[in-house]
Amino acid sequence: MNDFSDIPPLPLADWDVLISGTGIKQSLLAVALCRAGKTVLQLDKNSYYGGSAAAFYSLSEVDAWVAKVNSGDEVGIKNAVVVSNAGEGAGYGSGRGYTLSLAPHLVYWHSSVLEILRRADLTDGFSWHAVGSWWVCLTEEEVAVPAVATGVGGVVGLAEVGVKAAKLASAAGKKRAGWNKGRKKESVAETTPGGGEESVGERVTQGNSETTLRKVDNFREVPCTFEDVAWSKDLTDKDRGQLGEFLRFVMRYNDPTDQKCSRIFEENRQTSLRTFLSEIFPIPPFITTSISSLTLIPSAPSEITLEQALPRLAVHFSSLGKIPDVRSSAALTIAYGGSAELCQVLSRAAAIAGGINVLSRGVKSLCSNKKGDGNRKLKAQLESGETIYADWAIGEASDLAKEVKPLDGKSMSRGIYVIETQIGWLFERKYKDENITPAAAVVVVPGGDKGAPVYIIARSGVTGECPRSQCEFSNLKSIVMSLIKPGLLHAVTESSYGDMNAAIDKVLQVCSPLSEILYSLQYTAVTTSPEIGSEDGTVILDPLTQDIALQDDVLEETLRIYERIVGTREGFMDVPEEIRRMKEEMEE
């Protein structure tokens, strides 16, 4: 896309920090270090931003990437397969208009990354969308299994059940009061425009009438909100009690003042979530599967340890109900490609803070600057022939000309499917009084006890990742047209491409009109072993994990590196005071 003949030379040869790569961590560090006053050069060997979190904006860009993967030139990715059923005329053109992202991350409301973005004054740079419910594919038989256990009848222990249900109901009541408290504050802050907020008062009275868990064919909504747990008719009172107890445990397991919960946790760290749930909080297997899906860990249920699952569940449940106007949601996602967009906005933020971003220029070699040209610790030779000096060089091993070996560990199958059908049921508002329609949803097709589930992240056209339909404006014909909205399904599993396709088919079977897959891209992500940086000043980043939600580890790693370089974690990503003042003056 670059039709310039000249390649402008770098403005300096001498830098405080060289960052190679424009992935999430690299870009977070670029902003933080620029804002801390360091001179930062951020390079990328690719002609696009994001590295393993990149997005492609046309199908030809995907093709170029696939060719690179299959020739072994994309570290950590192999075996890419494209299947295109899109005819030239099918509103496709050159394929421009689809955004296929390698990192369509969910971002939990209560995640440290989001907290940092708020503090860094960067949340405005994105279009955020809510992630709706989780859905799990469960057959009637699978759900029927536990019904034996109770029903309304089970005379024995009825008293006990009653107590638990009451306890729980009061907990849920408190919880909702909490939501409303938050909401009111929110609406005070936001009511300026007047109108539009009239439903605030009604929220309390909702509750009972709308508590049936949604179900579309075999896809069942995961009971997640406190209303679901407290009131849903789909749960027996006994299950309700156990589930409520378990959720209490999730919120308290790492609270040192709660000795009972911490003891249970310590004793069961390595127990699988499934075993733990069936033994300590006996709930029917289908609810276990549902709960397990909230961890977003694409491993077989028997392989997910309690230790892995609990932090994830805690983030989910502590985020739930906190997002203004969409209380049934726990997570957000960034439009136009998720974390791919995050990388770009961060890179621009780095440029605004004085950094320089250069694409299509990789590091060819990196060594200690022994000869002492200048005072910098490191000397880097770039692919462009230039030589630069820096005190620090940060990047993934492959971006710093270090050798990378694939590990034998798990590999992850991923797929992106473009479909053109009505999957609107996934994006409907859960409660009538919510003001925001989700633009993404999570669908889980379990792989049985020993098999890995397939996670599917569905993204609606509202995310801006599909071309707008030809005629969006109002005449009758176009309304009919717009019912058939293109959408994207991202699949992640430790299982095979075949299982991934089968799971996608299950979703498509409940969509009408029956849809074929217009386009799909599948690839395999493999774990690589990072080399340890040998030279003083070289910082090797861990490759980005294939997690579905953006993990707090991402931030933790960047904070650690920032501390090494700047000497403190204080002020990480903070907007300098004079800039903040300048912005405030501008708004006046």
Binding site: R118, M251, S318, S347, I352, I356
Partner: protein, 209 residues
């Protein structure tokens, strides 16, 4: 009701005079010694009244990313207007305009208003290289507005901004439920189905259960 917010971008090659134009228009400053982009601020705000109605115009500069042509596609998101700036005394800046128009076509919303701006009009008699007609012809080809301006003398500085914003305001699909309206600057959830998520309230770690 808060004033409607409009997002306008400036793009074009290095040293074509984008930042000078922006500073002259917003702050009425012309500072030849300090010609580099202001570090640390990502946009400028200009209050502008169109047909008697106040609008809040956010003007985004390239932050130097144009130098290595590493402007991100995210920069173009939800832009309702784009000013493409070249220097009338520098042929090369004009020839790159094709590239910048293509960038806009690729990444900006399809109906965003475009305006081609030839800067440094004060050099018109001494060192003009690009003729007015050439600029006009290019602008016509891409359906863009066209102005020649001088940030030094203030000549025509307001026109491209006012014209672009006026055209945006007159284009309902750019103003309604669209693009710019979605930029979450502490706006309340609107009545559009895609309500703006307000991220301004940091979650207080509430005691659970």
């Amino acid at each position: 009701m808060a004033d409607p917010t409009i997002k306008v971008l400036l793009i074009g090659p290095s040293s074509s005079g984008k930042t000078a134009l922006l500073l002259r228009y917003v702050e009425d400053i012309f500072d030849t010694d300090n010609a580099t982009a202001t570090i640390g601020v990502d946009f400028k705000v200009k209050k502008l009244s169109v047909k008697g109605k106040p609008h809040r115009v956010l003007l985004f500069d390239t932050a130097g990313q144009e130098r290595f042509r590493t402007l991100t596609s995210s920069y173009y998101r939800n832009a309702q207007g784009v000013l493409l700036v070249y220097d009338i005394s520098n042929r090369e800046t004009f020839t790159t305009m094709e590239y910048w128009f293509k960038e806009v076509e690729k990444y900006a919303p399809p109906n965003a208003i475009k305006c081609l701006v030839g800067s440094k009009l004060d050099k018109s008699t001494s060192s003009r290289i690009v003729k007015t007609e050439e600029g006009q012809a290019l602008a016509d080809r891409y359906g863009a507005g066209f102005y020649e301006v001088s940030s030094k003398t203030r000549e025509n500085v307001k026109e491209p901004f006012v014209d672009t914003v006026t055209r945006i305001v007159e284009t309902p699909e750019l103003m309604n439920g669209g693009v710019g309206a979605r930029r979450a600057i502490a706006t309340a959830a609107s009545s559009t189905p895609v309500a703006t998520l307000s991220l301004d309230s940091p979650p207080k770690k509430a005691g659970c259960c």
